[in-house]
């Protein structure tokens, strides 16, 4: 079975600082999702990266997929308190497991004003 490891587990930054969260897979990545979760709430879809070394940006968040390293990174530029939350990466099983996501343990981000 596929396993995802996120690092760091938690991150505390000052507002305005840049930060990076990594997600490393034990198997080939076919589709990699990034979500943000506020405590006890549902998941907010951020980005989905497909196989092939893709990079996507939305506002101040950029995500990259390095298929050789079986790794994805999420980078936030000039962080704001609104960025605080739990960031989760999820890998699509691919093939007959298409749509079935395996998640990392999450990265808790705190942004101090």
């Amino acid at each position: 079975s596929q396993e995802l490891e996120q690092s760091p587990q938690s991150l505390i930054v000052q507002e305005g600082k840049n930060l990076t969260i990594n997600c490393t897979s034990s198997k080939t990545l076919y589709g990699l999702y990034w979500y943000k979760q506020k405590y006890g709430e549902g998941l907010i879809f951020l980005m989905m990266l497909q196989k092939g070394g893709e990079e996507k940006s939305h506002e101040k968040i950029t995500a990259k997929l390095d298929e050789k390293k079986q790794q994805s990174s999420l980078h936030i530029t000039a962080s704001q308190p609104s960025h605080a939350g739990i960031y989760l990466c999820g890998a699509d099983g691919g093939g007959t497991s298409y749509g079935k996501l395996t998640f990392g343990q999450g990265t808790i981000l705190t942004v101090h004003p």
Binding site: G31, G42, F45, K51, L88, Y98, G99, K100, L101
Partner: protein
């Protein structure tokens, strides 16, 4: 995208009872899934809700404990049966929109927070 609602948003139940959670989508979707998030943990896939047929369960989850229905392309229910405190979790449904091609977006509902006493 898809707008997903879940009912109830939260509930407190007594052990031994059952709770049915509803997931309603504002548009037709191809795939619907149910996940569980135990306290302090990440999400774990329970099952795929198949329209018009029996759900497909992941290892460690069985139909007797988590019966699932999906009568049409916009609605599904998950029942948590014979509950114990270990079932206290957030239960989330997710959907892949109808127009999805390979590896398209997957959207999650707001979740149902279940506490079992």
């Amino acid at each position: 995208s898809a707008v997903i609602s879940q009912k109830p948003s939260r509930d407190i139940c007594q052990r031994g009872t059952s709770l049915t959670i509803q997931c309603q989508v504002d548009s037709q979707v191809t795939m619907m899934f149910w996940y569980r998030q135990q306290p302090g943990q990440s999400l774990t896939l329970i099952a795929t809700a198949n329209q018009g047929s029996e759900a497909t369960y992941e290892s460690g989850f069985v139909i007797d404990k988590f019966p699932i229905s999906r009568p049409n392309l916009t609605f599904s229910t998950l029942t948590v049966s014979n509950m114990s405190p270990e079932d206290s979790s957030i239960y989330l449904c997710s959907v892949v929109p109808w127009e999805a091609t390979s590896y398209n977006e997957q959207f999650f509902g707001p979740g149902t927070r279940l506490t079992v006493l």
